[in-house]
Symmetry: none
Subunit: 195 residues, 4 copies
């Protein structure tokens, strides 16, 4: 067995384990030992690769945001009109990679982490800014100057749906979530021209 090139494998395993453990615990009260165990290694090794617990959390966050970014890009690739792109953005936000109990719990906790950790806050801010600018970009042809305002509403609505989902009380599937946001947006945009 080659001992070289293990680094990316180990790091991936830790990142995934981190998300899984946060999901399981429903909070950031997760020990490095738990994460490492799930990732199949010693906690010492986790430290070796990441330096400290904060870095592990940040890497996990980066991973979630990266996957989300991929989902968005993939969805946008298939879209051909502004309205399709808009739908793609919302769909991506609720796509199966994202709208999963584990990931939702992770998102919620990343918001909490962002209260304490400046790097975490920055990561989340970047994601929000990107979503907003995407939304504005695709809304402008449809609604003109009210695009920023409506984009903000849509973004907030998406976040709100996530937050409520985190309570698992009146759970929705990803399709209903997408529909709900798109239907709400529909009224703001005005009757469809194409879509």
């Amino acid at each position: 067995m080659p001992k070289v090139g293990m680094e990316p494998i180990r790091r991936d395993a830790l990142v995934n384990a981190t998300i899984a453990e946060i999901g399981r615990a429903g909070s950031l009260d997760v020990t490095v030992a738990q994460i490492a165990k799930r990732a199949g290694m010693s906690s010492a090794l986790a430290h070796h690769y990441f330096g400290n617990k904060d870095q592990i959390f940040l890497a996990a966050m980066r991973h979630v945001l990266t996957v989300y970014g991929h989902d968005v890009r993939a969805a946008l690739k298939k879209a051909e009109s502004p309205r399709e792109r808009l739908e793609a953005l919302v769909e991506a936000s609720f796509c199966v990679h994202q709208f999963d109990d584990e990931i939702i719990a992770a998102w919620l906790n990343f918001y909490v982490l962002a209260q304490t950790s400046e790097p975490a806050r920055r990561l989340l801010a970047v994601y929000q800014k990107r979503l907003l600018s995407n939304l504005v970009h695709d809304l402008r042809p449809l609604v003109g100057d009210t695009a920023p305002m409506i984009a903000l509403r849509i973004a907030a609505l998406i976040d709100g749906v996530y937050l409520r989902q985190a309570l698992r009380d009146r759970a929705m599937d990803n399709h209903s979530a997408t529909r709900m946001v798109l239907d709400a947006a529909e009224t703001w945009i005005g009757r469809k021209t194409d879509a």
Copy 2:
């Protein structure tokens, strides 16, 4: 100094200190000692009055929800039409007692707490259910059978605004927040009768 009847005073002090500390820390990683110190007593006394840390957190949560409930009732009292009541509900959600950095941080963390603690989950669920049923009640005269759906959108929107506020990035004041939600709702409701 009276040496009797301290219990309610101490409990209040602890509850307030808890919210303040959660706000300061931006997380539930707050020690009983910190809370007790801010409340001006020993941690032993905090345990004496609340039994354990969870109970302290729950009491703090109950307090926040109670204050919110008061705000809602006060706002509703002045409202005279369904539409006014609707506006009152949204306004109360963003009223100055609620839309304060400290309280917002507390809310966010209570959502996290609800992931772990069944009593906490129940408390939040009650609050959500009450908000929803209030919204539905006042929307029905305005929009008929779509009331539940629109109520859900409004509730999600409110939560979303809170969540984004928690990042303190593009901070809104409570008026803008209220306006944003009401404007968004306006489109769904339509200018049926009046205000």
Copy 3:
């Protein structure tokens, strides 16, 4: 209600509560608060009357030994021959006041207390010495110079029966216990002359 003359009542209540709590807990890990609560008063009052926890334990110990002393004297009063007195001593050791789960647990724990507390050790030593001298006194007419040796055996046997009883495993009632010790002693003493 007269407030005077409460002291002996309170002290008795505390002593009884102490024994009961030690019995319940099966150990000396009993808090002053628990004892005071069972005795129907505040722990502060318990301290007022006894000074500190050690004194409470010692008083409880003294009480148990005193009751035992009474039982012995009462039993001896009815006895008319050395052999009857001997039987009376053994019977008293297993009489219903003594051979009760609560009291047995207390005895066992007093032996433990005696390891740490010199006054406790002295109390137990006094009890042992008195039992021994009683036994010797009544054995001498029956067995002559071997009395001290046989007394020691009987005393040890009694203690051993107590110790095994503490495990509640192969529980005996007080009659069987008495019989067992007396039968054992019988052999050492030789065939009965009177009794």
Copy 4:
């Protein structure tokens, strides 16, 4: 210093330190920190290896019982007749490993522990049952059907001697203790054949 395979060494050290500390304190009021310190390590490491204090106590108890078991087996190996085996059993009970202040204090406290802890109770019960069945087995050729009764007497006598020893008052050495129990038993058995 080897940095691997420390576990058994550490566990042994902790077990011995536990017995020593219980002996020193004369009670179970011994902190993990004290035990760990005597064993030459941090209390965190003690927890790492044993999980919690109860497990440490149980391990210490198991150790004492195991050593006793070894002593018994070793003594029995040299015995050739029932009577010799009987003497061996009693001797082993008072052998130098057992009849040591530290170990006696430990035994006494394990009896107390057994009041609270079910596993502890089971351990003691096993030891008692084994001793009894050994005694019965070797008494039967000597006394026939009264073997169980006499076994019980002997067992109780042994325990009683231990209990009295715990007070350190009229301390015996292990030879006198053995003699005392064997002499007492002699009368019950009768000088049937010889040894």
